[in-house]
């Protein structure tokens, strides 16, 4: 089953926008949240995403708390989480249930490779 849905949880508007634009240009359906709390609120009402791109340092609810909350929810725990962060290894080593970590500044090709692993090649791209 193909899935085009991706949730981006990122507080920096510029990063959120470029992530959204880049991935939409590749044909994915993007929902964005500016922090973990908004992300948790959106998850039940949006189409179930094939992956979550998650920033760590955010106001209101940070990425660590968000990942922990997701992990506790049986319906959501299976959604792969890819962390995008500028933190070095020592600050991310405590995170569990994380599929992979993409370091900021984000290399677009690297990001798209990761997205394809969990969501497959998007329809828009395939159609070309």
């Amino acid at each position: 089953m193909k899935c085009n849905e991706i949730l981006i949880v990122e507080d920096d508007k510029d990063i959120r926008d470029i992530l959204k634009t880049s991935l939409e240009l590749e044909g994915y359906n993007i929902t964005t949240a500016e922090n973990g709390k908004v992300g948790l609120e959106l998850l039940p009402i949006m189409n179930k995403p094939c992956m979550i791109l998650l920033d760590l340092m955010m106001p209101v609810m940070d990425g660590w708390a968000f990942a922990e909350a997701i992990g506790k929810d049986m319906k959501l725990a299976a959604i792969p989480i890819v962390v995008v962060t500028a933190f070095s290894k020592e600050r991310t080593s405590g995170l569990k249930k994380i599929k992979s970590i993409i370091k900021k500044p984000i290399d677009l090709d690297l990001l798209l490779n990761q997205v394809r692993i969990y969501c497959g090649r998007a329809a828009a791209h395939e159609s070309r």
Partner: protein
């Protein structure tokens, strides 16, 4: 018991038999008298008014070694008195005789063999109608007693000297609460008035000092407790209102296994206590300082982390924006001539971006190293493959610098290292080789060496044939911000080798350089290989 008959030369007898009987009895009586006198353990004597002996008992010969004839010589007594006692003794004796007073005195007398013998002489005066007619007396050898007294005196003097010379205050109290002895230090420590001390009354002494103490009741209770348990020993501290602290130690005093009193000793431990208090305070301050330091380290760590995050956050959209344009330009630009030019510009922007990113990373690394927070996270890696991979990654750079790469890599060297950090080391060393050895081949060797103690070391050598390093610059090479070449010709912050060295050290390894100016440099990295 028969009576001793008085000698009476004028006595008249009625017949011969009576006379004979009387004489017999007299003989017997004399014999008994002599035996009695001689059996006394002393010299029984009589002397005339000039103190010349007229009679001495036989003991005299044995006691002092002189014959009886010698004893009866005029002035015998005076001539054999100990020179140090002579004047005193003769004067005293004559005075007493003049006053017709019996006397009892002690003096030293010289025996015939040169010994000094202590004599006690008990003298009575013989008078006739109130006139002084002679002397009579008994002399005893009191040398043993005298020597014992002298020894006792010595012991007492030793005790007293010891008591007075000790820095502790000493007090001995008998079981009736009477002060047996104390030293001056005791009186000083407790500020006890002389009159109280002279009373020898322990209760009075205690009463006189109570108002100096912080807890007089506690002090009294301890004394009461100890006097109720004479066999107890104790050790505690007494605190004065003025800050003085005395260490109090108490022990029972024994004679022949019986407790006869209690010895108290007091030591002024004020300075010691203050020192301990200061030490405690210092320790406390030290802990505070350490906590403070730990806090500031935490703050700095947090700052580094946040700085890293904040510096890289704005870079993220730029990089992605460049990436997005590049990616989509190819799709929509098609074969337009300007497409390739724009694409080349974007490629250059990406390179500048990498350079900038490297500078930010280097500065953050320096901050981490300086803070001692360079954290190494080891994982199992195939170093051979990593080096080969990095050489491939770096090949465009080497090609650009016209450096042929000659490599000799021992396959499958596997160990535990921090992959990201080792990559950083390779990047730095490759970058230097390219920068300072352009146009010449670069040799890269990787091998493992067996050590004598059965451990293994991995050796990585990166050799260029470029400008080399002057001998005097080699020791400075791994320092922070050191640069050996002018900034106009060779860019960079001069942090690469400093960081490289720190990473290798953090892995327990070492880096050294062999270099000749204008011939080239070899960087030799050695890492412990733990499998």
């Amino acid at each position: 018991m028969e009576e001793l008959l008085p000698m009476n030369p004028g006595k008249s007898f009625n017949n011969i038999t009576e006379k004979k009987n009387y004489e017999n009895t007299l003989q017997k009586s004399l014999k008994r008298y002599e035996t009695l006198v001689d059996s006394i353990d002393g010299i029984v004597w009589e002397a005339d008014v000039n103190i010349t002996f007229t009679f001495v008992s036989k003991k005299a010969e044995r006691l002092l070694g002189y014959s009886l004839t010698e004893w009866y010589q005029p002035n015998f007594w005076e001539d054999h008195l100990h020179p140090e006692d002579k004047e005193r003794v003769v004067k005293f004796c004559k005075e007493q005789c003049g006053l017709l007073l019996p006397h009892d005195f002690e003096y030293r007398f010289l025996a015939s063999d040169g010994r000094t013998v202590w004599l006690r002489d008990i003298v009575s005066i013989v008078t006739d109608n109130g006139n002084f007619t002679g002397l009579r007396g008994v002399m005893f050898d009191v040398s043993d007693y005298k020597n014992a007294t002298e020894e006792l005196g010595k012991s007492l003097s030793l005790l007293s000297a010891t008591l007075e010379s000790t820095a502790d205050g000493i007090l001995v109290v008998d079981r009736n609460g009477k002060i047996t002895i104390n030293n001056r230090k005791f009186q000083e420590l407790w500020n006890i008035p002389d009159e109280v001390m002279h009373s020898k009354d322990d209760a009075k002494a205690i009463e006189s000092i109570l108002d100096q103490l912080i807890s007089p009741n506690q002090f009294l209770m301890k004394i009461k407790e100890l006097y109720e348990h004479p066999d107890w020993e104790s050790m505690d501290e007494v605190e004065f209102k003025d800050g003085k602290v005395l260490g109090r130690y108490s022990k029972p005093q024994f004679i022949n296994g019986n407790i006869i009193g209690r010895v108290w000793s007091f030591r002024n431990i004020t300075v010691q206590k203050q020192y301990e208090k200061n030490k405690e305070k210092m320790l406390h301050n030290e802990i505070e300082a350490r906590l403070e330091a730990e806090k500031s380290v935490r703050l700095r760590d947090d700052f580094l982390s946040i700085a890293s995050h904040e510096l890289k956050t704005p870079l993220t959209p730029i990089r992605m924006q460049i990436g997005l344009v590049k990616r989509n330009l190819k799709e929509i630009g098609g074969t337009h001539p300007k497409t390739m030019i724009i694409f080349k510009v974007l490629e250059d922007a990406d390179k500048q971006f990498d350079r900038f990113l490297k500078l930010v990373d280097d500065l953050l690394d320096v901050s981490r190293i300086t803070a001692g927070r360079l954290i190494i996270e080891n994982e199992e890696i195939n170093l051979s493959n990593l080096v080969l991979q990095k050489i491939d990654d770096y090949r465009p750079e080497f090609n650009l610098a016209k450096c042929d790469v000659i490599k000799k890599i021992e396959p499958n060297i596997i160990g535990f290292w921090d992959k990201m950090r080792i990559e950083q080391v390779l990047n730095n060393l490759f970058s230097n080789a390219r920068k300072y050895g352009s146009g010449k081949p670069v040799e890269i060797f990787l091998s493992s060496l067996k050590n004598k103690d059965n451990t293994s070391t991995v050796q990585l050598i990166i050799r260029d044939h470029g400008i080399g390093i002057a001998k005097e610059n080699i020791p400075k090479l791994f320092g922070r911000f050191e640069r050996m070449t002018p900034i106009s010709e060779f860019g960079g912050l001069g942090l690469g080798l400093y960081i490289t060295n720190a990473i290798i050290s953090a892995h327990g390894g070492s880096i050294k350089v062999e270099s000749t100016l204008n011939v080239g440099s070899s960087f030799i990295v050695e890492l412990p290989l733990s499998q």
